[in-house]
């Protein structure tokens, strides 16, 4: 929070910039979201400070006590110019349900989300995956390969995380730009081949129209 780049000259967009697209980099604290953003971003990651005012949810009995809690959350983000006129923004997004209003604001217009997972703390990722699924946003899961983290077979991870067979599961090293790009490529490929409206929840196995047989085979080896 004290590293605000306010004294730095701004890094402006190119004058031909037409289109700004957004991908969320979601996950629990400490999973490597900012590392991932830093690896890919052409500027040092920036952050906005968000003030969250929450009506007290579960402590209604304390009548007369303050009924609002104000929290400040720092949201890291970065950007990468893809072509002269197209710029990709990556927004680090915390996974806790209590940040849901913030989540909804940040996710508006996003192409999709990349969920970072730490195999040492798989349970920490359940909440964020739930939030994303509720929002209907398409996503891919990237296991950030910390050096001392246990390696699991993709099927085991899928099972633990209760992933849809079509949801890509890749490994990545969030410190490494090439590896981070590969994870994003897996996500965007998924967006192209499994558009969300082609897979509404209750429809039993809608035929894969476009003929690209990607879906179920994407597990595991997308990382490097």
């Amino acid at each position: 929070m004290d590293s605000a780049p306010s004294d730095n000259a701004a890094t402006y967009l190119g004058s031909n910039t037409q289109t700004l697209v957004k991908v969320l980099v979601a996950g629990p604290f400490g999973v490597g979201k900012t590392t991932f953003i830093r690896a890919l971003s052409e500027t040092a990651p920036l952050h906005t400070e968000e003030t969250m005012t929450q009506a007290s949810a579960s402590v209604d009995s304390l009548i007369g006590v303050r009924d609002k809690v104000t929290t400040t959350v720092a949201m890291d983000f970065g950007r990468r110019t893809l072509t002269d006129d197209l710029v990709l923004y990556l927004f680090g997004t915390p996974g806790q349900r209590r940040f849901k209003p913030l989540w909804e604001d940040v996710s508006r217009g996003a192409l999709g989300a990349l969920v970072l997972v730490d195999t040492r703390r798989l349970g920490d990722s359940f909440e964020v995956i739930d939030l994303i699924e509720e929002s209907g946003m398409p996503y891919a899961v990237a296991v950030n390969t910390f050096d001392d983290a246990p390696r699991h077979e993709p099927e085991v991870l899928r099972d633990h995380l209760d992933l849809d067979p079509r949801t890509p599961l890749v490994t990545c090293d969030a410190r490494d730009a090439g590896s981070a790009v590969d994870a994003l490529i897996a996500l965007v490929t998924h967006l192209l081949t499994d558009p969300p409206d082609a897979a509404p929840e209750a429809v039993p196995d809608a035929a894969p129209e476009a003929g690209l047989p990607s879906g179920t085979a994407t597990a595991g080896d997308g990382g490097r």
Binding site: A10, T19, I185
Partner: protein, 118 residues
């Protein structure tokens, strides 16, 4: 850009908007593309409005970047952007041009752009 402190602000953020919590319209996204309309700045801008106008005079930026550089909450910058658009100081454009919004080629362009930087 000239030696402003990066510590806690002395004036609460909501004062930057003159106490208004909501922008005059509700269409500004974090990625709304801001650019200067050109021409001299009106003399009677509030300090926060002036800082935003001067920042964007340097070149185009997303709204989120402007908020980060100004160390102001996004909600506050939304209000300031609306003010400055109303005053004819700023242009604000949707992040994805209308024609591209439901165009699958946008994803293809993102994909090939990612492959190119790999």
């Amino acid at each position: 850009m000239s030696g402003r402190r990066s510590e806690r602000r002395l004036v609460p953020a909501y004062m930057a908007t003159g106490g208004r919590a909501a922008p005059s319209r509700n269409t500004f996204d974090r990625l709304t593309l801001l650019s200067a309309a050109g021409g001299p700045l009106p003399g009677r801008l509030a300090p926060a409005q002036r800082r935003l106008a001067e920042l964007v005079n340097g070149g185009p930026l997303s709204l989120a970047e402007a908020a980060a550089y100004l160390v102001l909450p996004v909600s506050v910058v939304r209000v300031l952007v609306a003010d400055l658009v109303d005053l004819g100081v700023l242009h604000a454009r949707a992040p994805v041009p209308r024609a591209e919004q439901h165009d699958p080629r946008l994803l293809e362009r993102v994909l090939s752009g990612l492959r190119a930087i790999r």
